[in-house]
């Protein structure tokens, strides 16, 4: 299973990408979508909501499971991906392009505490 090297990861299986404008984009990993199976519903946070690191802020549902999504870092929600709300299967098709929401970080130092691709792969092996 390939884990993109340009992304950072949370232990709870979210990925984040630091964008050129200083915001971060959040999604769930390929591993997470495989565990959950066929997605049928996604609930995203409201734009403008301020999240603390680790706060549960979104839900992804498959037929057999529902999983909370935790904010990998704190910040304000500045955009959400309406396309995955209307077509949750996009997450199954490519979980790294089907992003969930975009945050303006409250404290960029929190990004440094996340896992890099190597560390995340090790986590997957140990599970």
């Amino acid at each position: 299973m390939s884990v993109p090297t340009e992304l950072k990861y949370a232990k709870s299986h979210e990925w984040i990408r630091l964008e050129a404008d200083g915001t971060v984009t959040v999604g769930i990993t390929q591993h997470a979508q495989e565990l959950l199976g066929d997605m049928v519903f996604v609930e995203l946070p409201k734009v403008g909501r301020t999240l603390a690191q680790g706060e549960d802020c979104a839900v992804v549902e498959s037929v057999k499971a529902a999983s909370d999504i935790y904010a990998p870092i704190g910040g304000e929600v500045i955009a959400v991906n309406a396309a995955v709300e209307s077509s949750p299967e996009k997450i199954n098709e490519d979980s790294y392009s089907a992003w969930l929401f975009n945050l303006k970080p409250a404290n960029t130092a929190e990004i440094n505490g996340l896992l890099d691709a190597d560390e995340y792969e090790k986590l997957l092996e140990s599970e």
């Binding site: 066929d38 049928v40 519903f41 549902e61 037929v63 949750p88």
Partner: protein, 483 residues
């Protein structure tokens, strides 16, 4: 074909409704209905045929072996149904005076007494209409107990990770935070985790024993001591009472409150998903908080206790007395069995489970807790088979349907990967269990020789595998005549 598709405009059943619209109608115009509701217009015979045919598409205890773990699918004696449906019982209004229902109330009172005895509790209320409602009552009483003592800092309920989903859902619905504690390798609650979890915030512990892993919590007495010493109370989820009925009383294990699922242990019908009934029993410390109504027997007369009799009661959970007709069926069942029959329930349920476990183990199925006795149920894990062949617990479940057996519970409890929770129940004969073993053997062979066929099951049912992903993505919850 849906019942609506049999409908023809103005077709009526003349014998089933008043012969004409009455002349008198005082409903104000602005409150009258203008639209015609979408009910079918079909003949009586078409209705009977349609629903008879639908019934034939179901598996049921009356037609198939139904080893659904943690659901206790045992034979529902027909006498229980026939006698609970005597016309005097059916026609009695819930608010009819008590002196017009002494026969019925006698049954309810005796049922209360019998349930007290088999569970070792101080008192029982019959009002709860389902296991989950019994849980809600139990946790609400625990809250009332702490509040009455002015002990308001207790905000947490401890629940093992093997518990039914209803336990955490109930605790949250009752306004508590859930503290989940893990299970050790043998299937028992991790005692160190329990000790670490209890404290001044502990309102109580919810425990199923035997657990949903199909094993008896050997250290239940110690668990009781730990929780009580921390000031918490113990809740017994009676989902698996069938395994120990007559052998161990929850009251003797130290529980303060329990619910018993009569639709499991006392053989009232599951009815395609209810109605159930889940009387709640309490130890002395919770007696004042029991929900009403409760039947009392005073000077030879039966009557309902009210809030005047029980001012500290948590109140009411249903509009009337709960599922009276279900309670009558359970009463008839316990009278048919008698005291000696009570013991046999647990004995033969346990014998059947351990036999089936032994036979499946001999075939090569992996038992999740191989060093333990099965209670009335046990777990097979398909993890190794899935890793090797790609065939999952769900695939095997669907293939069992092809062979005329209802599938066991799959993917519960959540802690065992690819699990089948198998509960044969005491009413099944050895021949039925042997036929099931043969079917499991056949499937095991098929997994090796034609795994793709197994994955595509079912093949012999009225329908192939149902697309539940489509059902959730493209919600179609009501029929629309426009298509």
């Amino acid at each position: 074909m849906l019942i609506f598709e049999h409908s023809r405009k103005n077709r009526r059943n003349y014998s089933q409704a008043p012969a004409a619209r009455p002349a008198r109608n005082n409903i104000p115009d602005n409150l009258k209905r203008r639209s015609i509701p979408l009910l079918p217009e079909v003949s009586e015979m078409d209705t009977v045929r349609h629903y008879t045919r639908l019934s034939q598409k179901n598996f049921s205890i009356d037609t198939e072996f139904y080893p659904l773990g943690s659901c206790t699918m045992k034979y529902n004696p027909r006498a229980c149904n026939a006698l609970a449906m005597l016309p005097q019982f059916l026609s009695r209004h819930p608010l009819a005076p008590e002196d017009t229902g002494q026969g019925f109330l006698a049954c309810m009172y005796e049922l209360q007494e019998i349930l007290k005895d088999v569970t070792g509790m101080a008192a029982v209320s019959l009002t709860s209409m389902a296991g989950a409602q019994g849980e809600l009552i139990g946790i609400t009483m625990i809250r009332a107990y702490h509040e009455a003592r002015g002990d308001t800092g207790r905000t947490e309920v401890i629940i093992p990770d093997a518990a039914h989903g209803t336990n955490p859902a109930t605790a949250v619905m009752s306004g508590y935070k859930v503290i989940e504690i893990p299970t050790n390798r043998d299937g028992d609650v991790d005692m160190d985790a329990l000790k670490a979890a209890v404290g001044p915030r502990t309102a109580g512990l919810m425990l199923t024993n035997p657990s949903t892993l199909g094993v008896f919590e050997k250290k239940v007495a110690e668990m009781s001591r730990i929780v009580h010493e921390a000031g918490g109370l113990l809740y017994y989820d009676g989902a698996n009472l069938n395994a120990v009925l007559g052998k161990v009383k929850p009251g003797d294990m130290g529980f303060d409150v329990i619910h018993m699922n009569l639709h499991k242990t006392f053989s009232t019908p599951h009815g395609g998903g209810g109605p159930g009934a889940a009387p709640v029993g309490v130890a002395d410390c919770l007696l004042p908080y029991l929900p009403i109504p409760i039947v009392a027997h005073e000077q030879g007369v039966y009557r309902w206790l009210t809030e005047k009799d029980r001012p500290q009661s948590i109140g009411r959970l249903s509009a009337h007395m709960g599922n009276a007709g279900v309670l009558l069926r359970a009463y008839i069942y316990v009278r048919l069995l008698g005291a000696e029959g009570m013991f046999r329930i647990a004995e033969y349920a346990t014998l059947n489970a351990n036999y089936l476990m032994a036979e499946l183990r001999k075939l090569g199925f992996e038992i999740a807790y191989p060093d333990r006795r099965a209670s009335h149920e046990f777990i097979v894990t398909m993890k190794e088979i899935k890793d090797r062949t790609g065939v999952t617990a769900m695939h095997l479940a669907k293939r069992l349907l092809d062979k005329g057996f209802h599938a066991p519970t799959v993917y519960f409890p959540l802690l065992v990967p690819e699990c089948l929770l198998i509960e044969p129940a005491e009413t099944e004969s050895k021949e039925t269990l042997d036929r099931f073993v043969v079917a499991m053997k056949e499937i095991l062979d098929e997994i090796d020789t034609q795994p793709e066929m197994v994955k595509a099951a079912p093949h012999n049912m009225p329908l192939r595998k149902i697309d539940d992903v489509k059902a959730a993505r493209e919600l179609d919850l009501v029929w629309n005549p426009a298509g």
